[in-house]
Amino acid sequence: MSRIGVFICHCGENIGRTVDCAQVAQAMGELPGVVHSVDYKYMCSDPGQALIKQAIKEHNLDGVVVGACSPHMHEKTFRKAAAAAGLNPYLCEMANIREHCSWIHEDRAEATEKAKGLVRFIVEKIKYNRPLSNIFIPVNRRALVIGGGIAGIQAALDIADGGREVILVEKESSIGGHMSQLSETFPTLDCSQCILTPRMVEVAQHPRIKLLAYSEVESVDGYIGNFEVKIRQKARSIDVSKCNGCGECTKNCPNKKIPSEFEQGLGFRTAIYVPFPQAVPNIPVLDRDNCALFKGRAKGVKKQVCGKCATVCGRRAIDFDQQDSFITEKVGAIIVATGYQLYWIGKEQESEILHGYGEYGYGTIPDVIDGLQFERLASASGPTGGKILRPSDGKEPKKIVFLQCIGSRDRAKGMEYCSKICCMYVAKHTMLYHHKVHDGKAIVFYMDIRAGGKGYDEFVRRAIEESHALYLRGRVSSLTRNGDTIRVQGVDTLSGEPVSIDADMVVLATAMRPQPGITSLAQKLSVSYDLHGFLNEAHPKLRPVETNTAGIFVAGACQAPRDIPDSVAMASATASKVLGLFSNEQLEREPLIARVDRQTCTGCFHCERVCPYGAVERFEVKDRKGNLIKVIAEVNQGVCQGCGTCQATCPSKSIELDGFTDEQIFAAVNAL
């Protein structure tokens, strides 16, 4: 027989006004199993809690029911009080007679009857509560950061400075990301490389950061505190331990006409190359698709076609037969910072929802370029040495038209979101252009100017007032060749007039999209993503850098379009979350999770199929000799979040969710 104590709270007048608390307490005292039942003005106050503690000791209670406010409000308070009196905290439960009763009813008799019913549910339920103890999960206090752009760099440095080891994985041969391609940054116009490269070097030299460039995440297993990540180190064709980055190989490579990815196709590189001079690590990579030696091998030519790089390499670091290698790292938390790509507006699109802008001639008219290409033209280290020159004939353009919202905010083309950074970088481009070509004219077609941010609107005003950019509100319908120039046909909606401009160059502010391959990475991590592939945060306001998978965090433009300050702030936020997680050797959590009955489980694994977290594992039951008897389900305590979907699905009722077992719920329903 149970020894239950019932405590009915008046909550001042809040409950007492409509519910006759004394009557409820008296009625509960008459229920079988209830040995003590009282009402009190304020149960949550110190004297109220003392009342509970005293009763637990005096009456040797094995269950406490508090009829008061919502458990979301005070369940923790009362469980703590119960624990202080030596009762297992999970043997204390609340019945909500305030939010669900006294506050929503006026008739005293009706409300009192309902309150009795609500408390009775919990009294019957608690008879089947089991004492539970919190679960401790060991935490492997190392972090993995995926993506070596500014967000990944910031997160890695913050965690490493906080005293924990970090593994930074970057798929390109150098870290730096898109920020390393930018000329100058808004709203201060400081040089991107000047603020970024010191941080890149810091990453390379940090004793607690293990940098794995030219590598990708192959698979992820495990759960918070205990992830096991397999990483593919792609074959560079170079022995990293021997190479000292002297650059002789790149100088001597005969194939010098490969469009450079870093220069956005506006410059050239060799087949063995370093993407840009400040690359970290400063070790070249051999592009096998464009290397004469590998092309020869593919054709089956027996004689070695080239191999000049290997001949000139004094340290014999070139290894044409290198293969991809795999390493496995154990980490406790993962930060995803894979960044963005720009929307390619050509006809062919990878996804059905995207449509491209054939009418803008991108890829067919050489002087129609995108924002990142303009960055390379304006960059002092770019293909033109920082001079704004047309890609077609190398002449200085005297009139440039900038088009905003190409792809963004355009449902017809598949992306209804705002890419956030374009208004600002177009303003920056008009300024950079004005600084370099004093007699040049910049014309901007915009839909709205969204310059929310510290110093942002002032920056756009400067572009208009000091750099004399002409802002026209409206869209452009077509870009066509007109002799040496590009005919821009558009409309100025403020004057209502159609506009036709012959421009020397057109720059498209194309939309920001998540990196290709983001969805397959998200699936490896079991993180959800939206229609466009941006990763979903756990809560848009209150948990912006966590994901729904515990231990996995997001930073930067892989979550939504972000500018540099946003990405850095997010990265530091993830680092603080990770350091908080790593502050203890063990992770403590509530034990309200599923549990399998090994006797009755038949191993049908319906639970495995419905579990949203992949928490159900396979367990082999063996006899003493080691012969397999059956394979049954087992719940991983670190992964289970306690939704209970498995229990409702189990045909043999062999899986129970502690705190909400069938016995408990049926007992409550029986009390109806």
């Binding site: 929503i104 006026e106 009706e110 939704c643 209970g644 979907t645």
Partner: protein
């Protein structure tokens, strides 16, 4: 069954049990309370972590114990705290509702709804409309007959 609806409504107060998820509807009902939204006192809430946890047997048990109506409510699709529990619940209840109809139970006795943590008003509306509907239907006296028919 010839009692006029009006007379029935005045003499009969239905018993209704609500199985709700902890994160959306329970919190939404809390909000209805904090907003002091007056509603019918016929509905009693049983809290579960997720609609995915709700076994259809709970509903049958409630009817067996004398409930005249049942409400099942959780997070809106795509809003589940546990990512997907409400989708499993939705499928389960679609099948269950058909089974109930086949058994001769008026499907109006079971209300399924999505009430988010911010929809206190909607919760009050669900409670009031369900109470009204079940009051019109009258006491669920035919349940024992249905249950026995199965045994035979």
């Amino acid at each position: 069954m010839s009692v006029p609806a009006k007379e029935k409504a005045s003499s009969f107060e239905p018993n209704i049990v609500a199985f709700v998820c902890n994160w959306c509807t329970y919190t939404g009902a809390d909000l209805a309370g904090t907003s002091r939204l007056n509603m019918a006192p016929n509905v009693r809430i049983i809290r579960l972590p997720c609609t995915g946890r709700i076994d259809t047997l709970f509903i049958l048990k409630a009817f067996e114990r004398g409930a005249d109506g049942v409400i099942v409510s959780g997070c809106h699709p795509a809003d589940c705290h546990y990512t997907a529990g409400n989708y499993h619940a939705r499928r389960r209840f679609a099948v269950f509702r058909e089974l109930m109809e086949f058994m001769g139970v008026d499907p109006q006795r079971i209300t399924f709804s999505w009430v988010s943590a911010s929809e206190g008003g909607k919760w009050a509306e669900v409670v009031n409309s369900t109470t009204e509907k079940v009051r019109e239907l009258g006491p669920f006296v035919s349940y024992p007959r249905v249950a026995h028919a199965q045994v035979k």
